[in-house]
């Protein structure tokens, strides 16, 4: 019975094919059809892809998406790393910090959106009231700037703890001897961070960056609940665009093509970042 190992893999293969392979192939199929309600679908080749790539709304959503993910990474990664380094390493403070950090991670995405929606409402929200007190008129439903930074703040609040937890685990795993050696070698705190902490966290940081990149690139429920993509389309990201195209606009073929382009962009960016980070500082010359 040489086939026996395959029997053990069968349940997992079935699950993965139902949840991933089959939908992906279906989407590939749809992406090359013109699918309009009430008409017979017909094959239209790459027409859907061309139409999307030429669509101004798509390019704008993609641009916003890239800026958003970039801002998420440059704030959440350093902030998460800093918090992880500041966390106590032993004692009762450890448990307390971990529980506090865990709370945002346990809340479902759309609930986070609702919490922030209440928080920012102009009639009963705490945030507008607080800004009002400082003389700033906070308007999430009409100011692009306010909507943007609020969506960003919400993501930072929700997901920085994940970065902290990953980094904290990585820091705990660095042998104490490295820090002892750095002390003996008269390394300044900055050099200790640069040559001990950072290189030892390379693997962990790659994971944190990739997770945050992919998740932020796919962000949907929170901004959808908080701003609905507005004001105008100022907080319409790629996922919002895609779902509007497919469900709101009844253009399943276009929606499928958007999904594939979307999928390809996520994989491409993740791959590039992974390769770059893997080689970053790896045995680089004797320079300082």
């Amino acid at each position: 019975m040489k086939q026996r190992p395959w029997l053990f893999l069968l349940p997992a293969l079935l699950l993965v094919s139902i949840s991933a392979f089959i939908p992906l192939i279906t989407v590939m199929n749809y992406s090359q059809l013109t699918l309009l309600p009430g008409t017979e679908p017909y094959f239209s080749g790459l027409e859907n892809f061309v139409a999307i790539l030429e669509d101004e709304a798509f390019r704008a959503a993609l641009g916003r998406q890239v800026i958003f993910s970039f801002l998420v990474l440059i704030t959440e990664i350093p902030l998460g790393l800093g918090l992880a380094m500041a966390m106590p390493k032993e004692g009762p403070g450890v448990g307390l910090s971990l529980v506090l950090l865990g709370i945002p991670l346990l809340i479902p995405w759309n609930v986070v959106g609702i919490i922030w929606r209440v928080f920012t409402r102009s009639d009963i929200g705490v945030l507008p009231a607080a800004f009002d007190w400082f003389g700033y008129s906070y308007e999430i439903s009409s100011s692009t700037f306010d909507a943007w930074w609020t969506v960003l703040a919400m993501d930072i609040w929700h997901w920085t703890p994940l970065v902290v937890l990953i980094c904290y685990a990585g820091i705990q795993a660095i042998p104490e001897e490295y820090y002892m050696a750095a002390k003996i070698d008269r390394a300044s705190p900055w050099k200790t961070f640069r040559y001990v902490t950072l290189p030892n966290l390379r693997g962990v940081l790659i994971i944190a960056v990739l997770l945050r990149l992919m998740d932020s690139f796919k962000i949907y429920a929170e901004p959808f609940v908080l701003t609905g993509g507005g004001p105008g389309s100022s907080t319409t990201f790629l996922s919002t665009y895609t779902s509007r195209m497919a469900i709101g606009g009844f253009q399943m073929g276009r929606g499928a093509a958007t999904s594939l382009i979307y999928f390809f962009i996520v994989i491409l960016i993740s791959f590039v970042i992974y390769i770059v980070m893997l080689n970053l500082g790896q045995g680089a010359g004797g320079d300082q």
């Binding site: 050696a181 003996i184 040559y195």
Partner: protein, 372 residues
Amino acid sequence: MAEIEVRDIRHVYDAGTADETVAIDDVDLTLQDGTANALLGPSGCGKTTLLQIISGLLQPTEGQVLIDGEDVTAKPPAERDIAQVFQFPVIYDSMDVYGNLAFPLRNGGVPEAEIEERIQKIADLLELNDILHSSPSNLGPELNQLVALGRGIIRADTSAILFDEPMTDVEPARKLTIRRRVKEAQKEFDITALYVTHDQHEALTFAEKVAIMRDGRLVQYDTGENLYENPVNTFIGHFIGSPGMNLLGCGLTKENGAPHAQIGPHAISVSDDIHHAMDLSWTDCHIGIRPSSVTVQVADPQDDTHYIPATVSQVEMVGGYQILTARLDDTDVEVKARVAHDYMIDEDVSIWLRFPPDTIQFFHEEEAVHAP
């Protein structure tokens, strides 16, 4: 290059809590300028703690650390000019070998020209020239440990270097090479060195003097020869040598007006010096004899009373010689003896053993007895 002295060191971990442990107590030790020393002892005896107190990574609960007579107890490691090589190679792997060696110098603001000169010298000594621009992650643990050593001795003002079981990650076959280079570096720079290990062979081959610790206390600090020949107590006798000294519990009897050691029905003569120091009222006595000093005879020595009848219980071939274990007849005392590798002997055979009096050590309440 300096003299290192620790005075009345005591160190307690988790003081005042339920986990309170005294790691080191009452340790006094002076390492002379430019000497190679080893710190030997079983795992958990406080060796690493003492090392970290000397390098300044730990503050002792009590006592002082002096470098060339200056009290440095309160100084951080960076100001003590003491290098340390750890159990596993501690390497900054985002820099190449050159960058690693340059690191302590750059941190001290040494000009690049001088750094290059210094690195060249160290690389020649440790034979690192070919890998200066390699990334440490491509080198094995042996070479990395040499790089770590090089980083320790690169500073011209390094006053001492401490090794904390540096051979742990090194393959047995390469230990000899690495140890030779370590030893050469120590000699070349005349650097005061302290080498922590639980392997007596490593300690004795590296060091001129070995300090032996047990349960947080310093038991004996002496040359290898003295540790072997004149152990201060039964612990050292048993710990040094492979196998260790035979320690045979004995009573004291008077024979011809002089005290003798007595094991069961067998009387054993000791040297005149020891015998003058003995007191018949003593209990808890041991005679100690090295397996290599025991004389073994297969033929019945007839009336020669210096020989004690015994029965072989085990024969082990240990490379160039054999270690046999024999039980003294009419007692349950076992003695190990060393015989040549081609000595024909079998288990359960009757033999006769002789303990030459001048090779016998005598211990009263575990402490060595010397001439009065």
